[in-house]
Symmetry: C2
Subunit: 383 residues, 2 copies
Amino acid sequence: MIYLDNAATTFKKPEIVYEKIIESMREYGANPGRGGHKLSLKAGRGIYETREILAKLFNINNPMNIIFTYNATEALNLGIKGLLEKGDHVITTAMEHNSVLRPIKALENLGVENTIVKCDSEGFVELNDIKRSIKKNTKLIVTTHASNITGTIFPIKEIGELAKANNIIYMVDAAQTAGVYDIDVESMNIDILAFAGHKSLLGPQGTGGLYIKEGINIRNLKEGGTGSKSHELVQPSMLPDRYESGTPNTPGIIALGAGVKYILDKGIENIRNHEIELLNFFINEIKDVEGVILYGPTDVSKRVPVILMNIGNEDSSEVSYILDSVFDIATRSGLHCAPLAHKTIGTLERGAVRFSIGPFNTKEDIAKTLKAIKQIAHEATCD
Amino acid sequence: MIYLDNAATTFKKPEIVYEKIIESMREYGANPGRGGHKLSLKAGRGIYETREILAKLFNINNPMNIIFTYNATEALNLGIKGLLEKGDHVITTAMEHNSVLRPIKALENLGVENTIVKCDSEGFVELNDIKRSIKKNTKLIVTTHASNITGTIFPIKEIGELAKANNIIYMVDAAQTAGVYDIDVESMNIDILAFAGHKSLLGPQGTGGLYIKEGINIRNLKEGGTGSKSHELVQPSMLPDRYESGTPNTPGIIALGAGVKYILDKGIENIRNHEIELLNFFINEIKDVEGVILYGPTDVSKRVPVILMNIGNEDSSEVSYILDSVFDIATRSGLHCAPLAHKTIGTLERGAVRFSIGPFNTKEDIAKTLKAIKQIAHEATCD
């Protein structure tokens, strides 16, 4: 099996991730921070270590400003809905995932205005278009770091500067980049950062998180047991407890820490260079193949290793099905939870096939995939 | 190590739970339902199987009416906040966990009224007190199935009947009972059922869920990618997608299914009888020991295997610390995220030590624990 669905979930994980999840469950599978016994303390320390290593990765000053969530979607909902109130205005872009667009559209009912900035056919946003969308009541700009369908990389540093200059909070959806592309919340002026644990951070599913800059007041969307200030009927205000009610996914978070440690040990630029090398190989080999329609930036340096395509007039689900059943290659077809992005690039009707590269893919994987695509394209164009 | 903190998280788990979590991660760690390839389909099937077996356990007609959440706290927040609106009235009790009380108190700010019914010093609620609290605008009654501090079992069938007779929705917090005590949503008139996956259902942390009876309209609190109706900017209305945005904790949910299967294979009444036997042994041996103050029902048949106590004038944290460091026994001290319950039984100031029994505890565990308590009590009363 050649797995090219890494933009959904990376597979496989580093060996240490499997080892840590099972070790934490077998050896100290207790409830962290809710009892003073040894196993509980060890579980609590494990979670804190993951906060610490993520803080190192993203250059976050205080690890306690990182909140763990179920997934990136929950983190994005918390950041968007916890911040915006009736009368506020939010700016976002057409390349966003439904985990950004749907909460923003839902907030319309509560009187939160929005502007969805259009992007060009390669998925790029114009900084000036964002600038022109700023209104007196603009409280938040939220953009992806890179599109999950075209791979287009957004100029987050520049958007961060623009936001800062206008006293607007900037929130980045790093679901497709965290762990492979550099993210520095300080130098990039990122106020809120949402990430998935199970994608390029190499942790298990059931993990994600949100960094909230000191001083930004986001309403908690849930209340419950925090193991702190238990005598009070109101949620404690300190971080991370304010946002982390109930028992967390301790083994998942500990294994996520192992994934991030693997990345730092290996070197984030080494992982990135490997993926870019495979991306270049893929694009260069496929771009002129008859019948293949490629989407996204032609300048490969401006995209993450996500390749979206269609073949002739074939249905994208059919192509994915053939890749899976005949060639044992796992891809994703159809729409990819980003309807306006599909509209932008002209694939809303038919969808497209997505190939997404992970750190454990090899040149051989790509070579075999190219061969399969060429064969499908040949048959499609001969029809 | 003798682990008696099972009410927080059961430890250990059945061997099959460890095996399934690692098997699902290593062999088909893909994103369920978001791609049509083999691994994705297998992951999706695994999740569905857990829905099915939970439906069997709770006598739920349609498995799709079970929603997976991060933990029971999230499930309770969804049930409470997704249902209640300005002008509604909710009835709950003083024995509830902060995961019920804090959301209800937070809703006061939005104009949702509440009545918190008092309980007696053993933690029992009077059905008539609930009945007397019903008002014209009462929309919801929410109670625990059993207290997490005194173990007191609530008459949920009777409360369910009362709710039904008055056209009020009944929601049960089964965090302390699911998997050990019988729960039948049909015969018990339970409209909404919240459960934790990592307690007596024997699954991993990072799992929980909510059953929502057909026809009850709970607002979703999050929006995002659902892998369904991806072209739409509004959340789909069908279950479970409406409430399950973003990538779920697939390995956790699959392992939870293995935990529930273990319970059904072993027989829920056999697990319960084993735990009750240990509970009886514990209570009978300790109840007359000088210096030991026991809380909760004196009628042992009316409590789950949670034993709360104080020893002499000792601080509860100190007792827990001695149990852990000298005797290698894991318990929990202080308040247990249920402040009104502590107030009810008179331990709000000093807290108490909680011993909670799980399916893998043995008579020898309890014998050793009793010996340790007696020794601590002896030293405390000799001071």
